[in-house]
Every structure is written in C-alpha cells, then in structure tokens.
C-alpha cells in the first residue's frame, strides 16, 4: 500500500497532476535552499541537477527511440567551450541560451547526418564524435591558439544553483509536455518498431532528428553553467567519456520508462560516487561493480522493480487495488 502510494507519487509512467504538483513544490522549496544552507550545499545540488538534466535528456531520446547515444559529452563540451570563450564578455544567461542554441544546431546536424545509422552503428558514431571533438580541440588549441585550456570566469554558487534550477525546471516541464504530446508517442513508436512506425504514418526521420536536437539543448546549457564551477576547461575535461556514460547508467538505474526514473538514478548515483570517493580507495572498482550489477539485475531500473513487486502483490491481493488502475 505504502509502496503503491510512493510509486504513484513519484514514478508514474505518465505524470499525474499530483506528481506535477509535487515537482513544482520541490522546485519551489529548492529555490529557498541557498538562503538557509551553507555555501557548498548549492554547489553539490547543482552537480546533482546537472546529472539529472543530462540523464533526463538522454532518456527522453535514447530511452524512447531505442538509439543509445553517447554524444552527451559532445554537447556538454560545446557548452563549456562556449562559456569559456564568451563568458568574459557576456552575462551567464546569454551564454546559456547561446550554448543551448549551439548544441541544438549541432544536434540537428548530427541527427541529419546519422539518419541511416541504426543500433550499434549509431552508438559508435556518437562515441566517436565525443572522442573526435576531444582530440580535434587538442590539436586545434595546440596548432592555432597555442594554449591548452582556458580559465573560465567564476560565478558564485548561488547564481549557478539558480541558473541550473531554471534549466532543470524547463527541461522537466518540456519532457512532461512532450511525453504527453503526439511527438512523444511517435518517438515511443519508433523505439518499439521503427519500420511499422513508418507504416503507421509516423514521420520517423523528422521525429528522431528533432528529438535528438531538442535533448541536446539543455545539455549544452548545463555545460555552459557548470564550466564556471570547474574554473579551468581543457578538451579532456570538456569532452570526458564519463559525461557520456554516466547519464546512461543513471537513467537505466532509475528506470527509463518513467519521467522521474532518471532523476532518481542521477541522485543515487551521484551521491554514491561522492560517498565512495570519500571513504574508500576501491571506489572505482566498487562503482564499476555497481554498474555491472545494475545492468544485470535492474534492466528496467528501480521503477521496473517497484512495478514488478506491485504487479505481484496485485495478483496476490486478488484485484483489491484494481479499482485504482486507470
């Protein structure tokens, strides 16, 4: 019963009004945190929100359409470099929007270019793209600008926190709206069977490309914001492999079929990483083991597990709860 309540409140596949109310309330509550907490807490929450945005974006496209993208680091790094280059002249909100637009544009180009690629080819392409941008920037900086890395103009933790809160809220609202729309449904159709989706009249190409580009935008924006908290950007920092892989694992852990699964995954994984880094020397080994276990045992994420338990209970309880089913 309690479990069901919790599930309804947080993990419903299609967010209900209650859930939306809760999220709205949570965002409002979070807006007051910088006033009461110390200076570090907003920074920590900013990082968590960063990964929330990354994994929500990832799961909206890849989770639905069934294309595993490892291009997150590319868009993230593009945002970071934009901030590093323009950050001293322009205010943060301008660079954020510019980064989002830039990431959208690049996403659009990549999407158009990779139209023909399916399955593992798409994954390899996106994986190679992040590495290419990394190596290319390395070469470019060495050959032309004759510097390696750039100092980024710092902002205080509260500003960064609010900037991220805005991006987080917008991303979440956008995903909720898109999920309910025809667009979200088309994307889901593509994920189930692309060919039959096409037969059903779904404009698969446009849907895929647009979805890919849309999910790139918030990634670019958070890249721009968080670069100010790293302070010094070089290609290996901006286009790191972890940025591509972590959102995937977070989304899988939380459960991709629900809107809030990726958030849960991001919070748990980031907190776990932070905890392990602090307490043990074997953190990467443990972290790797957790990755393996998550994918082996929780292919549908935490949400999937809860769902399974509920279904079992329901069948055991003889449909006592059936009346609440939509």
């Amino acid at each position: 019963m309690g479990l069901r309540l919790l599930k309804d409140a947080f993990w419903g596949a299609a967010p209900s009004r209650i859930q939306s109310a809760i999220i709205a309330a949570a965002i409002v509550v979070m807006a007051f945190i910088p006033g009461v907490a110390d200076t570090y807490t907003p920074l920590f929450l900013s990082w968590i929100m960063t990964y929330c945005v990354l994994s929500i974006s990832w799961s909206f496209f890849s989770g639905k359409a069934g294309y595993i993208s490892l291009a997150t680091a590319s868009f993230y790094g593009i945002g970071m470099y934009l901030q590093a280059i323009l950050g001293r002249q322009l205010p943060l909100w301008t660079t954020m929007i510019l980064a989002a637009v830039m990431a959208f544009a690049v996403g659009l180009i990549i999407g158009v270019v990779t139209l023909r690629l399916r399955g593992i080819y798409f994954t390899i392409f996106t994986f190679g793209l992040s590495l290419f941008l990394n190596r290319f920037m390395n070469w470019y900086e060495g050959a032309f600008t004759r510097t390696k890395g750039r100092m980024v103009k710092p902002y205080d933790n509260d500003t960064v926190f609010y900037a991220l809160l805005v991006v987080f809220a917008i991303t979440l609202i956008a995903v909720i709206i898109l999920n309910r729309s025809r667009f979200g449904l088309s994307l889901k159709c593509i994920g189930q069977n692309e060919d039959s989706a096409q037969h059903l009249g779904v404009r698969t190409t446009m849907t895929k490309v647009l979805a890919f580009a849309i999910t790139a935008a918030p990634v670019g924006a958070v890249g721009a914001v968080m670069s100010t908290k790293i302070g010094y950007i070089d290609p290996n920092t901006a286009f790191g492999l972890n940025t591509s892989f972590f959102p995937v694992l977070m989304a899988i852990f939380g459960g991709m079929s629900s809107t809030y699964g990726p958030i849960i995954g991001a919070v748990v994984f980031y907190a776990l990483q932070d905890y392990l880094l602090r307490v043990t020397n074997w953190h990467m080994i443990i972290f790797g083991a957790v990755m393996v276990v998550v994918i082996m045992l929780l292919p549908n994420g935490v949400f999937g597990v809860v769902d399974t338990i509920l279904r079992k209970r329901r069948s055991a309880g003889g449909g006592a709860e059936a009346s609440h089913q939509p």
């Binding site: 209650i18 809760i22 570090y40 920590f44 510097t147 302070g231 010094y232 990467m284």
Partner: protein
Amino acid sequence: MKFRKIGMIVLALLLVSSLMLSACNKDSGDKSTNNDTTSSNQQTENTPATDNQPAPSGDLVERGYQKDMKKDVITIRAVRPLTGDEAIFDQTAFGPQYRMWEDEINKSGGLYVKSLDRKVPVEIKVYDDASVMENTTRMFEQMVSQEKPDLILGPEGTARLFACAPIAQKYDYLLLAAEGGALMLAEAFEDIRADYGKVNTFSILSYSETQVPALVKFLADEKITSVYCAYINDLHGLEYWDATERALKAVGVEIKGSEPVDPNDVLADSIINNAKASGAQAFLSYTYPQQSIPIAAAAVQLDYNPDVYLVGPGGTYDFFGLFAFGDPSNLYLEGLIGWGAWNEDSSPAAKAYSEHFREYWINDGTFWKDADGNFKDSGDKTVYQDWWGHICYYSVMQILQQAVENAGELDENGMIKQDTLVTYIEGATFDTVMNPKLHFTNNILLDDMYLGNIGQWQNGRVEVIDVDDRRTADPIVPKPAWGK
C-alpha cells in the same frame, strides 16, 4: 479519493522538505560542534574572554595567549588524483614527500605551533578525485567550506592549480602548490590580486621563465647551432617550446623543426625519423615519461645520437634508465640532459635531504605503508629520486612547517589562522633544503632560489650544468653514444 490525494501531496512535501533539511543540517551541525569547541576553550582559558576578539597577533603570542587552548591534532587535507591517468604524479612526485614529512613530524612529537607553544600531531588525509577535474574542484570546495581543515596541500598539476587557486582565495585558505607552474599562472595571480588585494597561492616549481633562459644560454655556450623539438601537446609543452623558440631565434640558433606529441598516442619512430632527417645538432624532447621513454627507446633503436639530447620532465628521475632501457644504474643515459637539477654536491642541506630520502624510502622499501588506508597501494614498491622536483616539493612541506612554527595561531574556532600564515610567507625567509634563504617574490620563486635549471647524466648521477656558479660538473658535449 480526493482526501487521499491531498494526503499524498502533504506526505510528499514532507519527504522533500525533510530531504532538503537533512542536506542543510550537515552544515549547521558542523557549526554547532565548532561552537562547542569554542565554548569549551573559553571555559578552560584563564584569560578574559574579551581577548578572544582579534587583536595584533604578535602581541597575543608574546603574552602566552592560547597556550591553554585545546588542540589535539592538526588536520591537513588535500584533493589529489590517487587513481586514474594522473595518479602517477601523486605516486612519484609530491606524494612521497608529504608522506615522509608526516611520518617524521609525528615521530618528533608533532608540529610546533607558535601561539600554543607546544607540538601538536598532524594528520594528513588525501581525497581521491579519480583524475576527473569536476571532482577536483567540487571536493576541494567541500573540503575548504565544510570540513575546514587546519591546513591544505596543493592539488596536482598546473590545470588543477588554476582551478583551485580561486576557490582557496574565496575561502581564504593558504595554498602552497607543489607540482605545477606556468607563465599563465603569474597572470592568473594578477587577476586574483586585482579582485582580493592579495594572493593566497604560492607556486614553487620552476617554470619556463627560469629554465628556458638557462637552456638557451647553455646551448649558446656549447656552440649548438640547430635544434629539433618534439613537445607534448599540453600547457607545459606549448609554453616551454614557445618560450624556447623565441629565445633561440633571439640568439640566432636555427630551428630545424618542431612537432607536437599527443599525450596518449605516440609514434616514436616517426618522431625520431623526422628529427634525424632534420639533421639538427640538438634534440629537445619536451615530453613526460609516458612519451619520453618510447621516444628515447626509438632513438636507441634507430641509432639516433645528437650532440645534445634533452628529455623534459622526468628525464632527471632515477627511474628513467630503468623504465626506458632496463638499466637501474642509469649509466646507459650518459650525457642525456634533463630539466632540474640538483645533486648531493649542490649544498649540504641537499645532500642531507637526499640521504634521508634514500634511507626512508629506498632502503626500507616501505612505501604506501599507511595503516588507515587513505593512500593507494602503488604496486611498484620503490620510490625513485627526482633530481628536479623532489627538492622543491619537500621545501613546500618545510615552508608550511616553518610558517606554522613561526606564525601559527589559532582563531576563535580553534583552527589555524590562514591570513597570518599568508602574510608571514609573503615576507619571511625560509631555511629549506633547496635554499637556506628561500623567499617568494609575488608568490613565485625567482631563478636564484633554485639549485640549478638543467642537469646532465654523468656516470649514473645528475650533474648541474647551468652556465653559472651552480654548475657541479663540466657538461659532456657532444653526447657519447647510447650505452657507452
């Protein structure tokens, strides 16, 4: 039904707010413990509580203020890469120094704190950033804002130093950097100075400004007329090569060619073939050991032996001969030139330090013995002497120690006051292993603080070959054939 929905909203709101509160509580909890220690201090003090307010420090210390204050341990913290790509720097460079220092200090009863007039044991703990930059800055900020240790140690490398210096400044912490130093750092310091009026970060390692002129002078002195350079494609390589190129052009040395080297993928044969084809008299390999070792090995295989062969960072490490050619005696490297340098003839203090280091690490072979599991087991149990950086890194610990000994003072929370230390380090002269009269100029060291800038392997040891009175042996130019 409706009732249940409202109930659920309330429940969820409670859940969320309790989560938020627990996140915030961490900080308030810290604050309250700090207050507790302060109040207990006040109770044990005999002097009036009003003296607790800030007052001229020298005055307080003379009156024996704080002597009764409670201080069980001096906490020293750092965020450094213990795993991943960058772990090698902690394992070979600064790591052996601060670990040896911690052991020594605690064996002698602790670190003397001026205002307490007694020794307090130290405790070094290093957090691992897993070689990921976002972890470095985040954990660094958590360290200085939440954990609030007494002292902090520098992060690894120039890039991390760039990232952490503004944070240390924001929370007003003294940051003595070990590895890392660059021309750009001096500019970054000026930015910080413009914002805060002072700079809390001090950089100790030599960089292009001091080393490149020494090299160019040496090349001119030995009548070298042409060079070829392979430089690592990062901050270090670009800065050093650009500085060298400018300086060489100014003295009329011909540059036969130069190429960047990728940090991960080196085709050493191609680099050596290009250098060979250029016919340059001097080959400069401005690279790290990961690249220098295959390049040097290729030079031997392809029988490339220029008059001057310089290896960048790591060339004056004792492990270079072993890792590159399986020769622990380093006799194989005869005539090879590297950055640095110093040796046991440089000064009596340097000799004493070197012998001590060898006795502590190499003879005992007890590296990574840390019992509480804070440090990684390196696998390779041997620690090698570095005839460039090690003496600088150990000096960092000595500067820290002497600053606390001469100006250490606790604030109202029982933590070591950082501003006093910064002010002291800015003006004071330190007796360290690298220089008995070491002092900072605008937060960096000038050339005359170092024991040498370039060194050459001669008979299995590194000799300083700067063209001035720091020279410990005449250079061997042209370089003898490999292994001869």
